[in-house]
């Protein structure tokens, strides 16, 4: 009897997972479409919990190999139900190359284009403003050769 109940519970719990996967995949497709006249390369799906007060805001990190002579476009979209607003930052080692949000001036950028001149491993960080919880997706696209 217990076995049957467990199996039924698994099926009931699986359904929302599929719905979530569809929603996030639609968000990725929408975000990629908004990136402009470019070629989609990668998406980075992020779901983060709220940060601890006084602590560093939670960040999702992705390592990427970028090639010399290519212009890459990075854009980020928050899910409609996301509490926080997503911010994408691009790092070369410890140097931040650019961000979709400048916290000093409060300026937001719809997207950032990166003219890569050095092949290597770079990192994309995605977090949510003020360390809030949130869901979102970052998109990397191919713009053109330099």
């Amino acid at each position: 009897m217990k076995k049957y109940i467990t199996i039924i519970a698994i099926f009931i719990l699986t359904c929302p997972v599929f719905t979530y996967a569809q929603d996030i995949s639609q968000l990725a497709a929408q975000c990629a479409a908004n990136a402009g006249d470019v070629m989609y390369l990668k998406d980075f799906v992020v779901k983060l919990e709220e940060g601890v007060p006084g602590g560093a805001p939670p960040v999702a990190r992705f390592a990427l190999l970028l090639s010399k002579g290519v212009v890459y476009r990075f854009s980020v979209c928050s899910a409609p139900n996301s509490e926080g607003e997503a911010v994408l930052q691009l790092f070369d080692m410890n140097t931040m190359m650019g961000s979709t949000y400048n916290s000093t001036t409060g300026t937001e950028y719809t997207r950032i284009d990166f003219k890569c001149q050095k092949t290597g491993v770079y990192h994309v960080f995605i977090s949510f403003k003020e360390g809030k919880a949130g869901e979102g997706v970052g998109i990397m696209s191919y713009v053109k050769k330099l």
């Binding site: 070629m39 989609y40 990668k42 390592a63 190999l65 002579g69 979709t100 990166f114 191919y142 050769k145």
Partner: protein, 300 residues
Amino acid sequence: MPKAIVYLFVALAFAATSCKSGGKGQDESIEIPDSVLNEGLEISEEVMQNIVQNISSPVEMASLIKELGVPYSNKYISSTDRVGNLTTSFQQSMNLGVYAADLGYLNMYNKTSAVVDYLTAIKTLADGIKVGQFFDFTTLKRLATNSKNLDSLMQISVQSFNQMDKYLHSNKRSNLSALMVTGVWIEGLYLGTQVYKITPSKKLAERIGDQKLTLEQLMLVLEKYTQDKQYEKLLVELRTLKDLFKDVTIRYEKGEPQMIEEDGMLTIVQNDISIIEITPEQLTSIIEATEIVRNRLISF
């Protein structure tokens, strides 16, 4: 009472399946769970986060070749006639990557008639390793028949590969994902080197030399699976190439990044520059070895 529970179970199973079928082009056949297949080796979440993505892309080499004005040739791509002979998950994953690179090249040159053959080959191989549900064959085939839809075709096919890749990683089958990436990379390099033989250019020579760094990253990924003899054999092949790339010099010039704001967009120009020095002799050796290694790998 137990019978009633069985009926309820069947009904709920049906409901759960209906819930899933909202996705486009889902495969209707029964999938064997990956936990059952469990062909791969588990990698911890921490290690997973550090895995470098975008090691090879079906877009970047093909795009460079197109931008150099090199005419299309079907001599550079792998024939789809071999698909029926690819029966192991190792062969299927590797060649899935190879055909993905070829598909990128065909898309770039708007070769819609050939695209359908490659989509069919990819679908067969994806089904073989139980990731066919992420390949929306019906939509892709429809898009391929209309040259106005080529951007969408490119986007959906790249998205499908990314989904397959994510699924393999999350189901303890990262070893197969590594093979797909290897397939994309070796075919991209083969494409670039074959084009260089006929139409040499400085940009392409640089791009070939630059693969030294990509190969190092790729080998780091593959080295996680050396318990499997086939992966060791694959690494032996790649080491042949690594030895030839060893003498390619890459030096760096430091510079501060430049930021340009325009229309709500930020453009960053990197002024740290890598300079790739590759001699004609090194290029010749790499071109010859790439052809041998690629032909061996696709028939592993």
